[in-house]
């Protein structure tokens, strides 16, 4: 039959030829064996078969559980489990077989092994450096601390430099503590090494997270900018009106509300007249992370109008995308005509601002 199975028939044939009996006899025996094994298990709960192992019936106690669909409490009844414990000789045989056969399984976990070895090495080195008594010695010291003489000698040996005191004073209670103390820091040293591995993994994770955040940030930043430009393309306003001479510049924080009122108060004006940005709505100070588009959004309700803010602050803005924090930015009032993003003058200003950015 198959390469990794010994079928019933094969077993029967092998038995027949080996024991010098007919296949029929072998069959009878094997069947009887199986039958009687079950019978024996039933009556005795444990059957030892020499040269193989022990079959056992293990009782599994009843336990409570919950019906997954209804949430009802149910009791899972106790039952018997069949367990098999191989004979010691057989177990060893099989384990030994594995060592040669599945050696290739070692390779994937090799680094861990290395790590263990490294940890041990480091512990050894640390022990040498600190001239600390190794564990066995410490134990010895503890056990012999009844007579001060011997204890002293043994303590002096491991650390002659650090503590000359024990030699002078035959004080008993202090002596055992000394060798114990240096030992304590040594113990946590062992797990430290593998922990480093986790630190490394954690660091990698943090790096990845930061990278992701940067990417996300970049994405949103781009979307913000592009979004502004898209807005410009999508919402061209057709009204061509100009600003009426409005009252004094009000540095009020509710710029938006004022904006809404404006269109009703404006009157018609011929198109090609250069715009000025004398009327100041509010003066805003650039804060960390702020940008013209946001200020435009805040005061005009639309990011697309940022070029006007640039135009009103040309002198202090060599590059509209790089503004030092704290720079006061004058936010000009917008006339209705200015709200038309298809207007040539607007386009010109924007063009100019963009050129500055690119330079």
């Amino acid at each position: 039959m198959g390469d990794n199975k010994l079928s019933w028939t094969e077993l029967r044939r092998a038995l027949a030829s080996r024991a010098g009996i007919s296949e029929k006899e072998a069959n009878t025996f094997l069947n009887a064996f199986n039958e009687q094994l079950v019978v024996a298990l039933k009556s005795d709960k444990q059957v030892r078969v020499n040269g193989l192992g022990t079959f056992k019936l293990q009782a599994v106690a009843p336990r409570k559980s919950v019906n997954v669909s209804t949430g009802e409490e149910i009791t899972i009844e106790g039952y018997n489990k069949i367990a098999f414990v191989p004979e010691v000789g057989v177990k060893e045989l099989i384990e030994g077989r594995q060592m040669s056969a599945v050696s290739e399984a070692n390779e994937p976990i090799d680094p861990l092994k290395k790590l263990g070895a490294q940890a041990e090495e480091i512990v050894d080195i640390l022990g040498e450096l600190g001239q600390k008594p190794i564990k066995g010695q410490g134990d010895k010291v503890q056990s012999t601390n009844d007579d001060g003489q011997r204890t002293k000698e043994e303590v002096v040996e491991p650390e002659p430099v650090v503590e000359p005191e024990p030699v002078v004073e035959p004080e008993k209670p202090e002596v055992p503590e000394k060798p114990m103390e240096p030992e304590k820091p040594e113990e946590p040293e062992k797990p430290k090494k593998p922990k480093k591995e986790f630190h490394f993994m954690r660091d990698t994770l943090i790096c990845v997270v930061i990278l992701l955040m940067l990417l996300l940030g970049g994405y949103f930043f781009l979307r913000e900018q592009l979004g502004g430009w898209i807005d410009e393309l999508v919402n061209p306003q057709t009204e061509v009106r100009s600003e009426q001479v409005e009252a004094s510049p009000l540095p009020s924080p509710e710029g938006k509300g004022e904006d809404r009122v404006q269109p009703s108060e404006v009157s018609y004006q011929p198109a090609e007249e250069e715009w000025t940005f004398e009327d100041i709505l509010v003066v805003e100070e650039i804060t960390e992370g702020s940008r013209l588009a946001w200020i435009a959004k805040k005061h005009y309700g639309n990011k697309a109008y940022w070029p006007y803010i640039y135009a009103a602050n040309k002198e202090q803005l060599p590059n509209p995308s790089i503004i030092p924090v704290g720079t006061p930015i004058r936010v000009p009032k917008l006339s209705a005509a200015m709200r038309d993003t298809t207007d040539e003058r607007f386009l010109r200003i924007r063009e100019e601002a963009r050129r500055k950015i690119e330079n």
Binding site: A19, T28, F29, G51, L112
Partner: protein, 92 residues
């Protein structure tokens, strides 16, 4: 129950001599061992299968000292009973 008792049972049931049964049983076990060593699993009709299972190498941590050590990979002999036998013995 020990092997001797099992042999008695088998002899009774099959009508064979105890001595023969003993011989056959030891031969059977020898065959089974050899085949297991060769990496084969033994299918025993009505009983189950004896298999060699590979156990992977793993790292264990000493709960008190935090010491890590590697348990080498090994293989284990396991017995997988047939569903029939399982059910039969669930309740006695």
């Amino acid at each position: 129950m020990l092997t001797k008792d099992l042999i008695g049972l088998i002899a009774n049931a099959s009508g064979m001599k105890k001595k023969d049964v003993e011989h056959m049983l030891s031969t059977t076990n020898a065959i089974i061992r050899e085949n297991l060593m060769a990496g084969k699993s033994i299918q025993m009709q009505g009983l189950g299968a004896l298999e060699v299972k590979a156990r992977k190498e793993r790292v264990i941590v000493h709960p008190r000292t935090g010491e890590r050590s590697v348990v080498p990979s090994k293989s284990q002999l396991v017995f997988r009973p047939v569903a029939n036998m399982k059910d039969e013995l669930k309740k006695i």
